[in-house]
Amino acid sequence: MPFALRMHRGTGRVVTGPADSEGQWAARIAAIATTRDQAAFAEVFRHFAPRVKAFLMKSGADAALAEECTQDVMATLWHKAHLYDPSRAAVSTWIFTVARNRKIDLLRRYARPEPEDLPWGPVDAPDQADALAMQQETTKLAEAIRSLPEKQRLLIERAYFGDLTHSEIAAETGLPLGTIKSRIRLALERLRHAMM
């Protein structure tokens, strides 16, 4: 049984940790996936929809298009909730990728090529320790971004809003990405191993 689901089941609501912690978001996505939980979806919407809209506007969409696109992104989250794997990405990461892909579909008018899914499909039981580690790494990463010198932080933001061309992007972010990468790598290996 998925980690997040176990936390959720029986109570109908999230039980531990601050309301906006990574673990809580994962639990809400699991609730949407398993019980079509509208209250959980409302929480996700309240927190992420204004951010998605702001992201789209910073990326060059006008307010009307950003609103339209935000609703579309949020509806997509509902329909894709069962494909979300907490051992490989934080909820904010997952939502970012959905928003980014829709942004390219709409602003640049082509269907974005996405990597194919992993061969085993969505697993029934994402490794609990992996999911937890991923949440902790994501929290650390957010803290690291907050503590960057402002100039560098703005540069990273501009890259992700699409203000920089690919030749202007320097991958040297000064962020501790090594650990998050090894975590994901580990989770992938574990999954592959379990499925063979």
Binding site: K58, E67, A89, S92, P113, T138, Y160, R185
Partner: protein, 213 residues
């Protein structure tokens, strides 16, 4: 899957994560990531940065009926199905652009048994498939800007070493290279360039405008 020796550099992965690459480069990166766990993990790291940037944003005001309209969009639509990876030679993102696997490619001969098929372009950037018969050299060429070459079938060798399925070669305009297909198996590569290829020998240079390489 895990024997990739030549992989994608970080700046391209971050460009993909940020959505800053032209479509032909997006296609090559997505196809390469489909074949390499290491690239997938590194990409996920850069996407986590995007998630953190999103999380830190000050939200924009939503329309009053935003939530209700979102629920209306949801109503009646089935959950998105899991899409199993392709069983063919081409990973899914490439199959979507080609419209199928190897057999669906609309090849055009570029001489000496070599073939190419233009897949997509955006601005100066183009993506194409190249077929080189076993043991043969790709016509010698250089190019403006960056060139990405991803091996899908067979293998080729050039100054950078041996490149087999899943390997990605990144070449800049200084490289005047002559990839040669390894003997034994025909070689199919997905190539993205952000400037026109220039063939350096006389004959292919004359032929270039006709083939649009």
């Amino acid at each position: 899957m895990n024997n990739i020796r030549h992989t994608v550099p970080d700046d391209l992965l971050m460009g993909y994560a940020a959505g800053a690459l032209p479509q032909p480069f997006d296609l090559v990166v997505a196809t390469h990531v489909s074949l390499s766990d290491d690239a997938r993990a590194r990409l996920a790291g850069f996407e986590a940065v995007g998630g953190a940037v999103l999380e830190e944003m000050e939200g924009a005001a939503l329309a009053d009926d935003s939530f209700d309209r979102t629920l209306a969009r949801i109503a009646g639509k089935a959950p998105e199905p899991y899409r199993a990876p392709s069983r063919g030679i081409f990973p899914t993102p490439l199959q979507r652009v080609v419209g199928g696997d190897e057999g669906a490619v609309k090849w055009k001969s570029i001489g000496m048994g070599a073939r190419q098929a233009l897949l997509c372009s955006e601005g100066e950037a183009t993506a194409r498939l190249i077929f080189i018969p076993a043991g043969q050299a790709m016509p010698q060429h250089s190019h403006r800007g960056m060139e990405l070459t991803l091996v899908l079938k067979g293998a080729f060798r050039d100054d950078g070493g041996l490149y087999a399925r899943g390997d990605l070669e990144v070449a800049n305009e200084e490289v005047d290279h002559t990839p040669t297909a390894e003997p034994g198996e025909d070689c199919i590569c997905l190539i993205a360039t952000d400037g026109r290829l220039k063939f350096t020998r006389l004959l292919p240079r004359i032929a270039q405008p006709f083939f649009g390489i």
